[in-house]
Symmetry: C2
Subunit: 348 residues, 2 copies
């Protein structure tokens, strides 16, 4: 392994000059700095962040921890990551995406104890999340995107699922729909206690009941084919349904295809409203999907700012923020069959 002395020898300068060139502690001419840089490159010498990290206990690197990369970084997650990376950069930090595999607790433990990062943003939080228990017991600042069942005292920002479901039902009720089904994420995500799946279902059941409407909920794997199958079964067993609230992007595309191919007009006979989605994803559908857009960019910005504040001021107040999805009314929602059109609340 090359040492700083090797670099100094190759560059034809003293070791302290190398150190000054790296740390900026004393001025060094641009030409000398360039010679040092070339020598470092040739020798593969890589000292700074490690050494600086040891000396200052700061690396200016934040990790975005997320399991289940298989689910992808489409729509929402993508806006989220983009905004998070930008926010980190504005604060002179770098955000890295840290995928974890089956042993997510072990990998989180390793990450925290490696000392590579100043703080963590945790995605895909479950109601009962062992990663959060682990992080509670360490000194590394973190913020959750999502929240556990009892997030008291934890810093988090999340989607306001109750308000989101309220917005969806207001939009559809305003259009005269009385038989509204929810097409949600998979049974597996419910069983795993994935926050959005549990919270949206609970809000949907509560709010349809308050409105005196039946609460029809279907779970669906995260694929277009699964969406086709679930929609086919739903309309066979419940032909009275005139509106679908969906939260499952890939499945929504399959469901719309199945409804149209099954001879039902969208939105003439069936309205479809996709929540926790985005206008970009909606534009891929034909007819263009009415969506309620997840506040990905806001959550990314809030999450990173919260962590950086906690890195810099250990005792800063804890962020807790809920933001609802925003309605983008497009071509897949319309008046319920046999009703006269109202102006739905929430339409711009």
């Amino acid at each position: 392994m090359a040492t700083m002395n090797d670099v100094a020898r190759l560059a034809g300068v003293s070791a302290s000059t190398v150190s000054y060139a790296l740390t900026g502690v004393r001025p060094v001419s641009e030409a000398t700095r360039e010679r040092v840089r070339v020598a470092m490159d040739q020798l593969g010498y890589r000292p700074n962040a490690l050494a600086r990290g040891l000396a200052s206990n700061r690396t200016r690197i934040l990790a975005l921890l997320f399991p289940a990369i298989e689910r992808g970084l489409g729509g929402t997650a993508l806006e989220f990551v983009t905004a998070a990376a930008e926010t980190a950069r504005e604060h002179g930090c770098h955000l890295v995406l840290w995928p974890t595999g089956d042993d997510e607790v072990g990998e989180t433990h390793e990450l925290v104890h490696q000392g590579l990062v100043d703080g963590l943003v945790v995605m895909e939080v479950k109601l009962d999340d062992p990663r959060v228990d682990l992080l509670r017991s360490t000194a590394t600042p973190f913020t959750l995107i999502g929240r556990t069942a009892r997030p008291d005292g934890l810093p988090y920002c999340d989607i306001d699922f109750e308000l989101t479901v309220r917005g969806a039902l207001d939009h559809l009720s305003g259009l005269g729909h009385e038989h509204i089904a929810l097409l949600s994420h998979s049974e597996a995500s419910l069983a795993a206690g994935y926050g959005p799946t549990v919270r949206v279902q609970k809000a949907f059941e509560q709010q349809t009941s308050e409105r005196g409407l039946p609460a029809l909920v279907r779970h669906c794997d995260e694929s277009a084919d699964a969406g086709r199958a679930v929609a086919a079964d739903l309309f066979r067993t419940h032909p009275e349904v005139t509106a679908l609230v969906t939260m499952n992007d890939d499945a929504t595309f399959g469901a719309v295809a199945e409804i149209v191919e099954g001879g039902r007009d969208v939105p003439g006979e069936v309205s479809v409203l996709s929540v926790v989605s985005s206008p970009r994803v909606g534009a891929l559908s034909h007819p263009r999907l009415t969506t309620m857009a997840a506040p990905g960019a806001e959550l990314g910005r809030l999450g990173v700012e919260s962590v950086i504040t906690r890195v810099e001021q250990g005792d800063s107040p804890v962020v807790r923020e809920l933001i609802p999805c925003r309605l983008d009314a497009q071509a897949t929602t319309g008046p319920a069959p046999g009703t006269h059109a109202h102006t739905p609340p929430g339409t711009p």
Copy 2:
């Protein structure tokens, strides 16, 4: 900043016991190790990877370097990242995603000299890519996914765009199509020298010319709306076109919607074949898209294996591999209007 001595004091053990517990150099009882772990957690002491990295010059972390996170990690890139992360894990390494902003060269330079990573996988390679010039001059092992205009001596794996275009044209020619247009990525990506955009266009122009067919190429921004606009203009000015080869997922959805809404049947009057895509993306379309699937998983695995081999054996032979996309014939390609159906070559 907490020191190893602070940890030792809090845990009630000697500093060398802390060191043994961390390094495994001498056996330490499970109970002692647990006391050390708890003390480290309480004090926020984070020594190992940094210290180990300095001592061994190995961190077992690989970075996947990619600019332009805005473009997302849909279809292809996602399979790629998943396979790359899995492969790293199988080798006892961790893959982090390292997004870069506008100053991609500066950020790459910083990453290499921070000493945080053992090696790099570089995505979104341009024909003339200053990041590659930088990396050529350093000792950090890397592999390109994609390749520059003159990749002699560089380790890379990439899509075989010539064979991919040949497969697409064989499929469509076999169905009797003689007026085939290419709907590609944006002018901006062409101007930036983005490899796939340049190489697919060149192969398309060469191979249509060899077959005595006109070469109609349209560039299109990466959105469904842009796809609609470009398709509308294309069929207004070139109503003789009966087949589209597309390489631009979001735009393809818009183009199909525009063609159908414009009164042309797909595939009765216009066939659409999306290359460098995936069956998962194809399933979101209605009718289901015929795609040529990018070898994302293979490239992810090859890229990481190549870097790890170079990290472990500095003088290992350089990997250079090209893999074509695979045809998945679905519902958007069919016989050209007025021709009798042949069995298209390449159909499973």
